[in-house]
Subunit: 286 residues, 2 copies
């Protein structure tokens, strides 16, 4: 029943979704829109979309499913603009990394009998660099795709079918769906996704300042250094919105890590260091 999908935002995630849908056997139309025309052209050239929309709202109106693949505040903006122009025949879904504000906006703007359904989603997949040129049909394979939907998004039989249809495509793209409450989602990803990112950023920024100009550096650092700083390449443009929309949980996680590092530092020569290593070993075993 899903014959036309509009992907609004054809960066890494949007382009990858287009490619993955094709690889999974989606034969309908995929229309794409991107803020920069160049990104849309690349997505088109790579076969991630079939055509470029001039007007994202019109492209949305002409599709059954609208996939928002833009940063969080841009997602919230699109939700405001799409809600009044779409109707019960549409499903809007997204890939935003925080779900509190998006789920609240969905409750306010969608999921009524006259309005489109909104299914908040978050694939746990990405790369440290963005852009359609890095689009990858296998990006979502083996990843978890988190959903934080309100039961109201399935209030009509038609909406329920669209929601199930999109979930089926997510499965076909190789992802495993997990359902979470929005608040629990934001708390959990603060620990397992946002904390690792901001630590990698702080570590990379510090290393740049302290040893960035050491001539031996590029050679000496091994796999551990590369892995611990890979996320240091992540763009501010994406993470700014995450920092703004999950500030409290991220700040709490960062503060606890500061205390944990200080504790380790104060115990470099005591048996307490053994306990820290054992606790860390346990995390990797489980």
């Amino acid at each position: 029943m899903i014959e036309r999908i509009a992907i609004l935002g054809t960066g890494l995630l949007g382009a990858s979704a287009g490619l993955a849908l094709r690889a999974a056997g989606f034969h309908g139309d995929i229309v794409g829109w991107n803020r920069s025309a160049e990104g849309a052209q690349i997505a088109l050239a790579y076969g991630a979309i079939d055509s470029i929309a001039e007007d994202p709202l019109q492209a949305a109106r002409e599709s059954q499913v609208v996939l928002l693949c833009v940063p969080i505040y841009a997602t919230l903006d699109f939700m405001e603009k799409l809600a009044p122009v779409l109707g019960p025949g549409h499903l809007v879904t997204d890939v935003g990394s925080t779900k509190g504000q998006i789920s609240a906006a969905a409750k306010r703007l969608f999921n009524t009998p006259e309005r489109a359904a909104f299914l908040p989603g978050h694939p746990m997949a990405g790369k440290e660099r963005g852009g359609a040129a890095l689009g990858d049909a296998t990006l979502f394979r083996g990843a978890v795709w988190l959903f934080t939907d309100d039961p109201d998004c399935k209030r009509s039989a038609h909406a329920a079918e669209l929601v199930q249809g999109w979930r089926d495509w997510v499965g076909a793209m190789g992802s495993k769906a997990i359902d979470l409450d929005p608040a629990r989602h934001d708390e959990l990803v603060a620990w397992v996704s946002h904390l690792p990112q901001f630590v990698a950023t702080a570590l990379s920024a510090l290393l740049q300042q302290e040893v960035g100009d050491a001539p031996e550096l590029k050679d000496v650092g091994g796999r551990g250094l590369r892995e611990m700083t890979r996320l240091g390449a992540s763009p501010y443009s994406m993470w700014r919105d995450i920092a703004y929309t999950n500030t409290e949980a991220v700040a709490d996680a960062l503060h606890k890590l500061e205390q944990r590092i200080a504790h380790l530092r104060e115990n470099l020569r005591t048996p307490e260091l053994r306990d820290e290593f054992e606790q860390a070993n346990k995390f990797r075993r489980e």
Copy 2:
């Protein structure tokens, strides 16, 4: 001229060195000794060594090159025991991760006309888990092998030949030799190796405490989480000696990181966050 090598300590690095020497075409004898008999048996079974020595000092006496592949304090112990029983026909070298104390011991115990030569070495290669069973002939390929030698280690023509002979084998195993002053070595590796390790340990230990029992955790964490915590599996037994022998440099690096994370945390909603991301991006570009 190197016809017999004694590898004292046939864990991951020792076993890998034996396998890599063979792969690089070393046709002489390789005798191995290990504190646990089981580790030596595994190294023998995997072809990393030709025979197991009962007495490490005798094995050293019967070899031209002695490769110490044990933790740092065990290396320092062996240096005390080997110095009086070896002579100018021997070269002792090691793989220890800090070089200040080992280089000082080398100056005190070796490199005189009556004594063996000592070449302090440190391959920037490893895995987060140890043991002969993970031994890998390609472990050193593409890695840097740091040396912090005293010019006195080449005081005789014979010693100079042994040193050059071992350096040639390091090259044949695929590593690139870089020479550093011992103090500079310890400062640099505090930043690019020890800091990433201790941060991964603190992060993994914290995550174990905070979300270790979350049922969704194993599924939700993606590549970023896996990479940022991989070193969390590293054993205390190896890192204890590093923490003890490079305490000041490691504590300084950890303290600076605590401050950097706090700065980022306090600026999650200010333009300063952009500067941190840009500085981090620069580290990954260069």
